[in-house]
Amino acid sequence: MSLFWIVIRQLAESEAMATSKKVITREEWEKKLNDVKIRKEDMNKLVMNFLVTEGYVEAAEKFRMESGTEPDIDLATITDRMAVKKAVQSGNVEDAIEKVNDLNPEILDTNPQLFFHLQQQRLIELIRNGKVEEALEFAQEELAPRGEENQSFLEELERTVALLAFEDVSNCPVGELLDISQRLKTASEVNAAILTSQSHEKDPKLPSLLKMLLWAQNQLDEKAAYPRITDIPTATLEDPAV
């Protein structure tokens, strides 16, 4: 009697294992891959969208000539946007602010947080260059009033001013503000705001699609064993683990 139940249980287990995941062989999967229709012009659009959103103006121009793909945004606006981004990345915040206002005065008006971050960056640059008096004056006249309106601005302001308290800024708790990554963060913020003001999406589509690929594979893993792409840069198919 007990042998009977052992056999029954083993049958049930192997049944469960067999039905839990569908196995798709390499050959079957390659057939499915071949059935997919991807249009060349859509891939070109994806690449152009990347070049344009990331600000590769000349490359976008050349790509338009070599592939006949039209950019989804006026290329002239990219040059201006890139100039702003570069100015922030190099620490020339005043210059950047001037350029943004030339491009579109509404951007900073409608974006108090961005404006505060730009001003904050200006303060950081003054401190970096050792202009202590100027920094304090700037903080009191320009930034303090903003801080009064907004609690989180106030906290940011206090953090930044704290830089002045330390002789050795590289070791202080707020030292990261002097790091280049802070400039890059602000530059990114400006870039996004400009793109948004031009009714353009601020991120290129390609990275989202790559993430979607990883996500889709994770989802499909729950139901099937099939050839996966684990190394995205080379798009190599790996055989299913059976």
């Binding site: 999967w29 991807i38 060349k40 690449v47 990347f50 499909l220």
Partner: protein, 465 residues
């Protein structure tokens, strides 16, 4: 000896066989102006348009002429004389959400109006939700019924003048209901198989109108769908990618297709970004494969895109004779067709005919080539060929196919080539195919419900898996 532009004269049988396979692939591509993929059929899935008068509880209710409203005319006596009716088709599944609405024109004496979903074979004298395999939201008590003995508080009651909607959210596998454009509740969908939108009336003078989308909905369905997609998008965005992956993929795309000028600008710009872009060292052999014959491929692409087929042929004979030595190969065929098309484009019809007689006639009987030859020749029949059914041949995309063919064929002459299939698709294309195939397979394993990824829609702004 081979230089970087690969001027080698080796062509053994194996090589030639691979060449033929490659060009035939592109031949397939060229035959359809805008080829249909597995996802394109999604739009063709049938949807409910009116009420089903054949299986409705005909004795108990009256259906209007246009089959879009129902009325309960007699007096209800017991629980088995419900005037219930299903839509003529089940809810389509290959989409994110399905939705329909009812308008309660008159709640009659007792307001026993109901809206829901039922399966085929539902007992057509009972309220949706009173029987197995059915869900119903009832107006008299605001409860959600989902089978014998199974009901719970759900939403507000509804009566004359209210617009109530019922929907299926395939992403979350839930039913949801709305009242006057607001969602009132959701419930897990534990039913499989085709589900029919269902409405019911069950007291004297009750009258309900149904809207299957022939009129705008009171509920903002587009907004609801956008929010659902956004939820999924947020989850996807949380995934991290290795640094500069997109950058690397764009770069290999430009290399693969021979967009040399773009590539040079791209490289120059990346060196001056802050911080400079760093690409993980590519596998040495791989890198060499793709830079192979870059300027030749660029030149040929430009020639073909400009319609200068004769010059293209000459360059190929000079640089890669093995590709064009067999005049019956698919590559030569595509080039000849394109030459023919270019002649038609400029109106040199007599010359086109002469050319066709010499170069295209031989292909007429061959199965793989026949269709394209016929389409090309058909161009001659029209005064305005670009507006005809074969007008696709005159578009840029056709030149693109020929350019891509030549590109792949040149890549295939690389003596260091490991796998000839690498010539066919850029990494980007392989990734996009994998993405599409995974989404389709995932959908197919989930009862074929939900929307699948389609590159074209994703580019114009927003379909997900």
């Amino acid at each position: 000896m081979t230089d970087t532009n690969g001027n080698s004269s080796s062509s053994n049988n194996h090589h030639h066989h691979n060449q033929q396979d490659l060009s035939l692939y592109f031949l397939e591509l060229s035959r359809h102006g805008s080829s249909q993929g597995p996802c394109d059929m999604d739009e063709d899935e049938e949807a409910p348009t009116e009420l089903n008068t054949i299986n409705s509880s005909g004795g108990f209710l009256v259906v209007s002429q246009d089959k879009l409203s129902i009325k309960y005319t007699s007096v209800d006596l017991h629980g088995h004389d419900v005037g219930v009716i299903q839509a003529n088709k089940p809810a389509p599944r290959k989409r994110l959400v399905y939705y329909f609405e009812i308008y309660v024109k008159d709640a009659g004496t007792k307001g026993h109006v109901a809206i829901g979903f039922t399966s085929k074979g539902f007992k057509m004298r009972r309220q949706p939700g009173w029987e197995p395999n059915s869900y119903g939201y009832h107006g008299d008590d605001g409860l959600l019924y989902r089978g014998p003995g199974k009901s719970e508080t759900f939403g507000p009651t509804f009566t004359s003048g209210d617009t109530v909607g019922g929907g299926i959210n395939y992403a979350t596998q839930e039913f949801f209901f709305t009242k006057n454009a607001q969602v009132v509740g959701t419930v897990s969908k534990d039913l499989k198989g085709p589900l029919f939108p269902t409405l019911a009336v069950h007291s004297q003078n009750e009258e309900v109108h149904v809207n299957f989308g022939q009129k705008p909905f009171a509920f903002d369905l587009k907004e609801f769908e956008a929010q659902e997609r956004m939820k999924q998008q947020l989850k996807i965005e949380e995934i991290t990618l290795p640094a500069n992956v997109s950058y690397g993929i764009v770069r290999s795309y430009l290399l693969h297709y021979g967009y040399e000028d773009t590539l040079n600008s791209f490289d120059m710009a990346s060196r001056s970004t802050v911080p400079p872009v760093y690409i993980p060292q590519e596998n040495g052999v791989d890198g060499q494969e793709i830079t192979y014959a870059l300027s030749h491929r660029k030149t040929l692409r430009q020639l073909i895109r400009n319609g200068e087929i004769d010059t293209a042929f000459n360059k190929l004979r000079e640089w890669y004779p093995q590709i064009v030595e067999d005049n019956t190969s698919a590559t030569c065929f595509l080039l000849h067709c394109q030459k023919f098309i270019e002649l038609v484009r400029v109106g040199a019809l007599e010359e086109a005919v002469k050319y066709g007689r010499i170069e295209l006639a031989t292909f007429f009987r061959l199965p793989s080539f026949e269709a394209l030859v016929q389409d090309c020749v058909a161009l001659l029949a029209y005064e305005q060929p670009q507006e005809s059914s074969v007008g696709y041949l005159l578009q840029d995309s056709q030149r693109e196919v020929v350019a891509d063919t030549v590109n792949a064929m040149i890549l295939s002459t690389n003596p260091n080539l490991k796998d000839s299939k690498n010539c066919l698709h850029s990494y980007l294309e392989r990734l996009l195919r994998q993405l599409t195939a995974c989404c389709l397979e995932k959908r197919s394993l989930s009862g074929d419900q939900g929307e699948a990824f389609q590159l074209q829609s994703a580019l114009s702004g927003g379909k997900n898996c």
